[in-house]
Amino acid sequence: MSLTFLISIPLLTACFIALLQPKHLKIIERGVIVSSFLQLGFILFIIPSVLSRGSITGSALFSIDALGAFLALVIALIGFFTSLYSIGYFRAEVAKEIVGPTRVRQFFLLLQLFLCAMLLAVSTINPVVMWIAIEATTLSTAFLISFYNKQTSTEAAWKYLIINSLGLLLGLLGTILFVAARGENSGALTWAVLQNSVGGISPAALKIAFVFIFVGYSTKVGLVPFHTWKPDTYSKAPTPIVALLSGVLLNVAFFALLRFKSVVDAGLHSAEFTSSFLIFFGLVSLVFSALLIFIQKNYKRLLAYSSIEHAGILALGFGFGGFALYAALLHMLFNSLAKALLFFSAGNIFLKYSSTKMRNVTGMVRVLPLSAPIFFVGSLAALGFPPFGLFFTEFMTFSAGINDHQTAVIIGMLSVLVIFFGFFKHLSALFFGEAPEGIAKGESNLFTQWPVLVLLALFLVLSWHIPASLDELIRFAAHNLSTNF
């Protein structure tokens, strides 16, 4: 019942928005705020129950354990800030006549469906339902990516649709193979049932099934070489959506990978095979990002490659295992916060300069007295600069892997260093110099400022102090991931 309520909130909000006219935009905005607040409040409410009982079961299809609760918290938290920021962002775009109230209404409706699909994916214990939910995220975001109805956004959306749909279908093929192993009398299809039934499968068959799963969900994560949709999508989609794609959907896709990883590890009685996949592709993603970061000319594409970098670090962490699992889960949280911070401030930059090309954005520090420093701070945070949380999680990840995977750690650290210098080179060009003519100084409306400020404050606080219950939740989730066979 309680989990059904969690998924119903965004769904009911979408229905509510669908019933309203575009002229009722203010009511829609208030509805979105209330909805996102309820989602966040509900997740915070159920976390103590998850910690005390291990999981909360809603029905045969829905149950949320520590990992699911943690990811639901990240979804609700970033969703909350995204909803608030979107209000200000689109008010500014409506004022500039870039979009009209009808499109904004469509945006909020699709945003709720997107959030609903992600919450469904992390709260179900049925792999097929999880696949349906993740496919639903692809379909809802496709319309959001083509939001501006231009050639470039249509192209980006089509590319996103085709590549992700194909990837997820290969993931479905892998899911089918796992489901086939279940046997006749195993009851409802759940992760626990899958884990108990894979022991009798031939190891080679299990590996092939995992390869399909890995290809499928890595496409969604954006690991190299399945990442080709990312730079185009990030550069053309509305900024609030990109914040969710980069900071939240990536985590949901990883969630799917980790669930199947647990099943395969149990079947093979070893994590070596799945970990080697994660480490290899994580490393390739890091190196690839490092190679391409220098030649970027579009700041949103730059952030896309940063997202690929962090997907690579997460893959390394989950591949190394052990203590790195805790580090990787914490990295998920900090990466989500940092990416939201970066993309929101990038959104403010776009509202001011009306361009995503870096050559058109100069003298930011004079033109945007709030967003520019926040973008700078967010960049430092995303680059793993101390004292931000990502520095600690990257350090913990590499420390955990140094004994058994020295080469991988050295290559990873060198890549991170190269990315740091490359990103910084672009930052200095953005910040200093003379502002272009005709660009007025000052920020947009309040809704584009204070969510970013609060997010920054939250990020700084969490970098230094993780609340005990949150820390326990992450440790619980890491423990579940590490002791599944």
């Binding site: 349906i132 496919e135 231009k150 050639q151 590319k159 089918i176 030649i295 090309k357």
Partner: protein, 219 residues
């Protein structure tokens, strides 16, 4: 379910395989859609057949729904789209036909190779059918890669879905209902997507040839 009907299931498998093969060689979208109809008909018929053989009412309902959506509604929708944009529908390939056939042959050989032999574990009774189903998946993926039309890419996606449902049914998945409902949901959404995106692409690019979609470059 499988033991007494292997030859019949093999017939269905081959019919679906021929449908996918023909998708690669046909020159017009009319025949592309007809090939998809054939493939969907095979899938729906198989679901209905298994439902009747096993006296599973839910499977009969799913088979009927599959028939209604995949064999009737979706193709009718695609024919309407084709008619609306017929002037510029030219589903030419990146590779010539002989090269295309060589690649298809290669993909079929890979499906039957020892690489995927461990998968026979999942269905020892129908091990002869599994490589053919896998080949159908790979051929459908190649259809998406090789064809220049956005329309063809879409049919390719739906063809992959059909191939996966066929594979799931033939290896005896005991819960094809959830799977098929998911696929039907997917197709319904794809019909909406097709309506919106095909119109947008045609309006903005003047063509459904995806090689025209090159406004995005590494800026």
């Amino acid at each position: 379910m499988i033991e007494n009907s292997q030859q019949l299931y093999f017939f269905f498998d081959v019919a679906a395989f021929i449908a996918i093969l023909s998708m690669h060689v046909v020159k017009t979208n009319r025949y592309l859609i007809r090939a998809y109809i054939l493939q969907s008909f095979v899938v729906a018929s198989l679901l209905l057949l298994i439902g009747f053989l096993e006296q599973e009412q839910s499977l009969i309902w799913i088979g009927t729904l599959t028939f209604a959506i995949k064999v009737v509604a979706a193709p009718a929708f695609f024919f309407r789209l084709k008619k609306r944009f017929d002037a510029l529908f030219t589903p030419n390939n990146y590779l010539s036909l002989p090269l295309t056939l060589v690649v298809l042959m290669f993909l079929i050989i890979v499906s039957y190779s020892s690489v995927f032999q461990p998968l026979y574990f999942f269905s020892p009774e129908t091990f002869g059918l599994l490589p053919l189903c896998l080949a159908m998946v790979f051929l459908s993926v190649f259809l998406m890669i090789n064809r220049r039309g956005a329309f063809s890419q879409m049919i390719g996606i739906l063809s992959v879905e059909n191939s996966i449902v066929l594979l799931a049914t033939l290896i005896g998945i005991k819960q094809p209902i959830a799977l098929e409902m998911g696929i039907i949901f997917d197709i319904a959404i794809w019909m909406i997507i097709a309506q919106v995106f095909i119109s947008m692409i045609y309006r903005q690019f003047g063509s459904l040839n995806v090689t025209q979609l090159k406004k995005l470059i590494e800026e």
